[in-house]
Protein backbone atom coordinates (compact mmCIF):
# COMPACT_ATOMS: atom_id res chain seq x y z
CA UNK A 1 0.00 0.00 0.00
CA UNK A 2 1.40 3.34 -0.97
CA UNK A 3 0.61 6.64 0.73
CA UNK A 4 1.71 10.19 0.19
CA UNK A 5 3.43 12.38 2.76
CA UNK A 6 1.63 15.57 3.76
CA UNK A 7 3.25 18.99 3.35
CA UNK A 8 2.38 20.94 6.49
CA UNK A 9 4.83 23.84 6.28
CA UNK A 10 7.18 25.15 3.55
CA UNK A 11 9.99 22.97 4.91
CA UNK A 12 8.17 20.10 6.62
CA UNK A 13 6.58 17.03 5.08
CA UNK A 14 5.46 14.16 7.28
CA UNK A 15 4.32 10.56 6.68
CA UNK A 16 0.74 11.17 7.84
CA UNK A 17 -1.58 8.50 6.51
CA UNK A 18 -5.32 7.73 6.63
CA UNK A 19 -6.27 4.84 8.89
CA UNK A 20 -9.52 3.35 10.14
CA UNK A 21 -9.70 3.18 13.91
CA UNK A 22 -12.23 0.61 15.12
CA UNK A 23 -13.70 -0.16 18.51
CA UNK A 24 -16.38 -2.84 18.78
CA UNK A 25 -18.94 -1.91 16.12
CA UNK A 26 -17.87 1.71 15.61
CA UNK A 27 -15.12 3.10 13.42
CA UNK A 28 -13.68 6.39 12.23
CA UNK A 29 -11.28 7.37 9.48
CA UNK A 30 -8.46 9.44 10.87
CA UNK A 31 -5.10 10.86 9.76
CA UNK A 32 -2.22 9.48 11.82
CA UNK A 33 1.55 9.95 11.77
CA UNK A 34 3.82 6.97 11.10
CA UNK A 35 6.43 7.47 13.80
CA UNK A 36 9.29 4.99 14.09
CA UNK A 37 10.43 6.95 17.17
CA UNK A 38 7.23 6.09 19.03
CA UNK A 39 7.23 2.91 21.10
CA UNK A 40 3.48 2.47 20.73
CA UNK A 41 0.34 3.86 19.15
CA UNK A 42 -1.28 6.90 20.76
CA UNK A 43 -4.45 8.72 19.76
CA UNK A 44 -6.34 11.81 20.89
CA UNK A 45 -8.98 10.97 23.49
CA UNK A 46 -11.57 12.91 21.42
CA UNK A 47 -11.22 10.39 18.61
CA UNK A 48 -11.55 7.47 21.01
CA UNK A 49 -14.70 8.97 22.54
CA UNK A 50 -16.16 9.42 19.07
CA UNK A 51 -16.04 5.64 18.52
CA UNK A 52 -17.54 4.88 21.90
CA UNK A 53 -14.50 4.27 24.08
CA UNK A 54 -14.91 5.17 27.76
CA UNK A 55 -11.41 6.57 27.84
CA UNK A 56 -10.92 6.87 31.60
CA UNK A 57 -12.02 3.26 32.15
CA UNK A 58 -8.77 2.12 30.56
CA UNK A 59 -5.61 1.16 32.39
CA UNK A 60 -3.64 4.33 33.18
CA UNK A 61 -0.04 4.78 32.15
CA UNK A 62 2.59 7.46 31.64
CA UNK A 63 3.88 8.67 28.31
CA UNK A 64 6.76 10.95 27.53
CA UNK A 65 8.30 12.64 24.52
CA UNK A 66 11.87 13.68 23.78
CA UNK A 67 11.44 16.99 25.62
CA UNK A 68 10.68 15.06 28.79
CA UNK A 69 7.21 16.13 29.85
CA UNK A 70 5.15 13.23 31.14
CA UNK A 71 1.52 12.85 30.16
CA UNK A 72 -1.15 10.45 31.35
CA UNK A 73 -2.58 7.99 28.87
CA UNK A 74 -5.36 5.39 29.03
CA UNK A 75 -4.94 2.04 27.33
CA UNK A 76 -7.60 0.33 25.21
CA UNK A 77 -7.60 -2.41 22.61
CA UNK A 78 -8.60 -1.17 19.17
CA UNK A 79 -8.35 -2.36 15.57
CA UNK A 80 -6.22 -0.28 13.25
CA UNK A 81 -6.93 -0.76 9.57
CA UNK A 82 -4.43 0.44 6.98
CA UNK A 83 -5.30 -0.03 3.33
CA UNK A 84 -7.72 -2.86 4.09
CA UNK A 85 -5.43 -4.73 6.51
CA UNK A 86 -6.46 -4.80 10.16
CA UNK A 87 -4.43 -5.36 13.29
CA UNK A 88 -5.47 -5.46 16.95
CA UNK A 89 -3.45 -3.01 18.99
CA UNK A 90 -3.26 -1.96 22.63
CA UNK A 91 -3.21 1.81 22.09
CA UNK A 92 -2.96 4.73 24.43
CA UNK A 93 -5.44 7.61 24.43
CA UNK A 94 -4.51 11.05 25.69
CA UNK A 95 -6.38 14.26 26.47
CA UNK A 96 -3.21 16.28 25.99
CA UNK A 97 -2.69 18.26 22.77
CA UNK A 98 1.05 18.01 23.53
CA UNK A 99 0.99 14.36 22.58
CA UNK A 100 0.39 15.27 18.94
CA UNK A 101 -3.12 15.62 17.71
CA UNK A 102 -2.45 13.44 14.67
CA UNK A 103 -2.22 10.30 16.61
CA UNK A 104 0.98 8.31 16.40
CA UNK A 105 1.49 4.92 14.76
CA UNK A 106 4.42 3.45 16.65
CA UNK A 107 6.63 0.40 16.86
CA UNK A 108 4.29 -1.83 18.84
CA UNK A 109 1.26 -2.63 16.75
CA UNK A 110 2.34 -1.08 13.45
CA UNK A 111 6.08 -1.52 12.86
CA UNK A 112 5.74 -4.93 14.51
CA UNK A 113 3.40 -6.18 11.75
CA UNK A 114 4.25 -4.11 8.70
CA UNK A 115 7.41 -3.53 6.66
CA UNK A 116 7.53 0.21 6.10
CA UNK A 117 9.63 1.99 3.48
CA UNK A 118 9.94 5.76 3.74
CA UNK A 119 10.93 7.61 0.57
CA UNK A 120 11.20 11.17 1.81
CA UNK A 121 12.61 12.63 -1.42
CA UNK A 122 9.61 11.27 -3.34
CA UNK A 123 7.12 12.10 -0.59
CA UNK A 124 5.80 8.55 -0.44
CA UNK A 125 5.71 5.73 2.07
CA UNK A 126 5.06 2.06 1.29
CA UNK A 127 3.44 -0.16 3.92
CA UNK A 128 3.47 -3.92 3.38
CA UNK A 129 2.16 -6.58 5.77
CA UNK A 130 5.12 -8.50 7.21
CA UNK A 131 4.45 -12.06 6.04
CA UNK A 132 6.98 -13.45 8.55
CA UNK A 133 4.74 -12.40 11.45
CA UNK A 134 2.08 -14.89 12.61
Amino acid sequence: MRFKYKKISPKIIRPIIPIVLKYKVMSIRFEALLDSGADMCVFPAEIGELIGIEIKNGMVGDLTGVVGNIEKIYYHFVEIEIGGNSTRVLAGFSYSKNINAFGLLGQRGIFSVYVIKFQYTKGIVDIIPDMTVN
Binding site: K4, Y5, K7, I8, I12, F30, L50, G65, V66
Partner: protein, 62 residues
Protein backbone atom coordinates in the same frame (compact mmCIF):
# COMPACT_ATOMS: atom_id res chain seq x y z
CA UNK B 1 5.00 13.95 -4.31
CA UNK B 2 3.47 14.97 -0.98
CA UNK B 3 -0.12 16.17 -0.71
CA UNK B 4 -0.10 19.91 -0.07
CA UNK B 5 -1.86 20.70 3.19
CA UNK B 6 -0.53 24.27 3.39
CA UNK B 7 -3.90 25.87 2.52
CA UNK B 8 -5.62 23.70 5.13
CA UNK B 9 -2.99 24.50 7.75
CA UNK B 10 -3.29 28.21 6.99
CA UNK B 11 -7.08 28.36 7.21
CA UNK B 12 -7.96 25.86 9.94
CA UNK B 13 -5.37 26.35 12.70
CA UNK B 14 -6.51 24.84 15.98
CA UNK B 15 -9.53 23.18 14.37
CA UNK B 16 -10.65 19.68 13.55
CA UNK B 17 -11.36 19.13 9.86
CA UNK B 18 -13.20 16.42 7.97
CA UNK B 19 -11.67 15.54 4.62
CA UNK B 20 -12.92 13.76 1.56
CA UNK B 21 -11.12 10.61 0.45
CA UNK B 22 -8.75 12.75 -1.65
CA UNK B 23 -7.27 13.87 1.72
CA UNK B 24 -7.24 17.51 0.65
CA UNK B 25 -10.85 18.71 0.33
CA UNK B 26 -12.31 19.98 3.60
CA UNK B 27 -16.02 19.22 3.97
CA UNK B 28 -16.50 20.37 7.57
CA UNK B 29 -14.52 22.02 10.34
CA UNK B 30 -14.95 22.96 13.98
CA UNK B 31 -13.62 22.89 17.50
CA UNK B 32 -14.65 19.35 18.43
CA UNK B 33 -14.05 16.12 16.51
CA UNK B 34 -17.55 14.83 17.22
CA UNK B 35 -19.23 18.02 15.97
CA UNK B 36 -17.12 18.04 12.80
CA UNK B 37 -17.86 14.39 12.09
CA UNK B 38 -21.58 15.01 12.55
CA UNK B 39 -21.48 18.06 10.25
CA UNK B 40 -19.71 16.09 7.53
CA UNK B 41 -22.30 13.30 7.71
CA UNK B 42 -25.15 15.83 7.63
CA UNK B 43 -23.55 17.39 4.54
CA UNK B 44 -23.75 14.02 2.82
CA UNK B 45 -20.19 12.75 3.23
CA UNK B 46 -20.57 9.19 4.50
CA UNK B 47 -16.99 8.34 5.40
CA UNK B 48 -14.99 11.49 6.11
CA UNK B 49 -11.39 11.40 7.31
CA UNK B 50 -10.84 13.42 10.46
CA UNK B 51 -7.68 15.37 11.21
CA UNK B 52 -6.63 18.01 13.69
CA UNK B 53 -4.76 21.11 12.48
CA UNK B 54 -2.29 22.31 15.11
CA UNK B 55 -2.15 26.00 15.96
CA UNK B 56 1.55 26.05 15.20
CA UNK B 57 3.85 23.80 13.17
CA UNK B 58 7.32 23.31 14.61
CA UNK B 59 9.88 20.64 13.84
CA UNK B 60 9.23 17.50 15.86
CA UNK B 61 11.65 14.85 17.11
CA UNK B 62 11.12 11.56 18.96
Amino acid sequence: MAINWLPIYKKYKGKWVALKSDEKTVVASGDKAKEVYKKAIENGFKDPILSYVPTKVVPMVG
